[in-house]
Symmetry: C2
Subunit: 416 residues, 2 copies
Amino acid sequence: MTAPLDHQTLEQNFVKPNILKQERTKAGRRLKLIQEELRKRFLKLKEESGSHSPSTSTILESIPELTIDVDACFLSNPLATDLFLEFLREELLETGKLRDVLEFYPAQNVEISKHLSPYLDVPKDMVFIGNGAVEIIQAFLHNFTEKSILINIPTFSSYYEFVRPDTRTIFHQLDKSKDFRLDQKDFVDVVKKEKPDTVVLINPNNPDGGYLTIDKLSSLISELKSVKNIVVDESFIHFAYEDDSLDLHSLAPLTKKFENLTIIKSMSKDFGIAGIRAGYAVMHPTKVTKLLKNGYLWNSSGLAEYFFKLYAREDFLKRYEKVRRKYIRDTQFFFAELLEIPNIKIYPSKANFALIEILNGRTATNLVMDLLFNHGIYVRTCSDKIGLEKGEFIRLASRSEKENRKTASALKQCLL
Amino acid sequence: MTAPLDHQTLEQNFVKPNILKQERTKAGRRLKLIQEELRKRFLKLKEESGSHSPSTSTILESIPELTIDVDACFLSNPLATDLFLEFLREELLETGKLRDVLEFYPAQNVEISKHLSPYLDVPKDMVFIGNGAVEIIQAFLHNFTEKSILINIPTFSSYYEFVRPDTRTIFHQLDKSKDFRLDQKDFVDVVKKEKPDTVVLINPNNPDGGYLTIDKLSSLISELKSVKNIVVDESFIHFAYEDDSLDLHSLAPLTKKFENLTIIKSMSKDFGIAGIRAGYAVMHPTKVTKLLKNGYLWNSSGLAEYFFKLYAREDFLKRYEKVRRKYIRDTQFFFAELLEIPNIKIYPSKANFALIEILNGRTATNLVMDLLFNHGIYVRTCSDKIGLEKGEFIRLASRSEKENRKTASALKQCLL
């Protein structure tokens, strides 16, 4: 376990074996004061970040005394980052081509989307490239959603935060006693009753990792023909699997059959490149055309363009497929370890994170700060998530094998 | 001068001295056919790119037979690219920090804007960060412009292309006989008559480079108090100067005085980093808040964040100031060379490009293809620009000293 605080005096006072009891009490009081101060600063920072967690760099800038060893808030495959960096180094850094990527204008949206079209098995005029999935979510909500949107909760907050002021948000609470699994009949009933023009389905769902098989989801979509827009967010789909083959099942090709279906996907999670800002949507060509008429022509950076070209290359994908499968296995092993820890409930997840309910009366914020200040592990409190009011929840990301071991061990110590 | 066509057979047939006349005629005919074919492909490509020129990489992908030596379409300071790459190499590549920049989420919009606030001399809640200026233009037009917008023409097309369908665009034609200079009285008269809720002023203007001094522009703005939104686009302001000191004069601090004033600025041109997608706006805090409520939280990439932090650093700015001044001197020297070429008129420019009118009856497209196919120099035809119908125009960017010499010499050969 690493030093929780980079505070030299504290450290010295605390670990010296020959320190007098009185001194130790003094030091203890000072430690308490410092920790109280840190807590205040951390809570203020969280408040300022709204419904999203402050990033590790933002935390470290504001509280430089902290050391963060594991960012278990961060939902991304680190093995995929390694792989991307390997290609980048060889193809852009060592050749000097990085200059071109940074200096010149990247290709326009339609030029990039045509690279993705064969891989996604849809025509190129159905692909829209985004500066991260969030840009597409916003564009969708502002251009296609009209009177009302139906969203399962708990969920990724951007889907209700960025709606237009004239759009009514209808929340459909997923049942905690059923592990937040979506019940098809319940959902269709709500749709019939509320008649939303847009419904959102995140698969696997964030923050619980609940997954609907491609068959179940297809069946649900075929029941929603009367709905103007169905958004399926597949940002975590690369971590899901339906059997031991660990094969990937995307709904993207179904957009050719259902005109009301839109797939939105972030590339930050599965490819470990959140800093590049890359996402895409597959939707009806009239929707793509409408968005392009409103702007979004040059919304990709040169590095995003390079990434999207890689994403369509067989040599890269072959290597990627290996790290995707390895990461799924590591993640499932991590989840199994977490199941051994007392006083918590791990919700079943097919994503690269687990929603954890604290059962021993501690608050989520208290546990998050314990893990951060005393173990250098940063996890996300879910106490601010709409739909998670009944209970204390944190969300834990799977990182590298080594980091996962650290996280599991620290969590165990906090909860024993 | 480099080989215009990478076509081996052609080359061989054409240069062999012992070739028979008959053969030569055949080869000539074939060359003509091939050039005709290239012309067709180039024109098709241009058509597909809409009102913007296809990028060099798009051209080279579609017409791989071509060699482009000078991209004089591309409006950016190459010396600033060198400088940025020097910092990037030392601080991100050699330290291995590039990984963090690519792997993790960049800071949110408000976190980045606070770095810029001291440099721009405005409070941080007045700064909005964009994924390139185009994103901000689109956001502005969709969120703040209502019934009508007044735009001088010729201009940068995004200001009228991305307006909402319910916004009326009023074009104010700049007078060619007055070198497209904006006449303050004329402009105020049009505003009084048309009562637009938004007016746009690009300074220096694109595509002619016409510049209004800070005093003149301030005086104009003070006459436009009744207009809801005044947008001043300062994307080329780093290339403008008012006297031999070559000092930079930005209108940004005036946003504190005039609530209706918004400054929009691309960083692609002056800093030579179009591939990074970085721009900002300075506007009233209520406008910034409204945009952030609609999304735009994570619209910067990790590299854009790195750049913006550099932009606020004294050590970087000190070095940048030198390359800015050197580039202005190179550019003015280039313009002076162009003035020596017959059969064209160079419009007075304080930007890093010159608008050129062709006076010998050749069309702009014809000259552009001549420069591209026979000299490897890519320039922008302005025949598609609204407001430039009366005449044949091209726009020429200033590049490195060496490239500028090549461009001037090729243009001379084409026009003699």
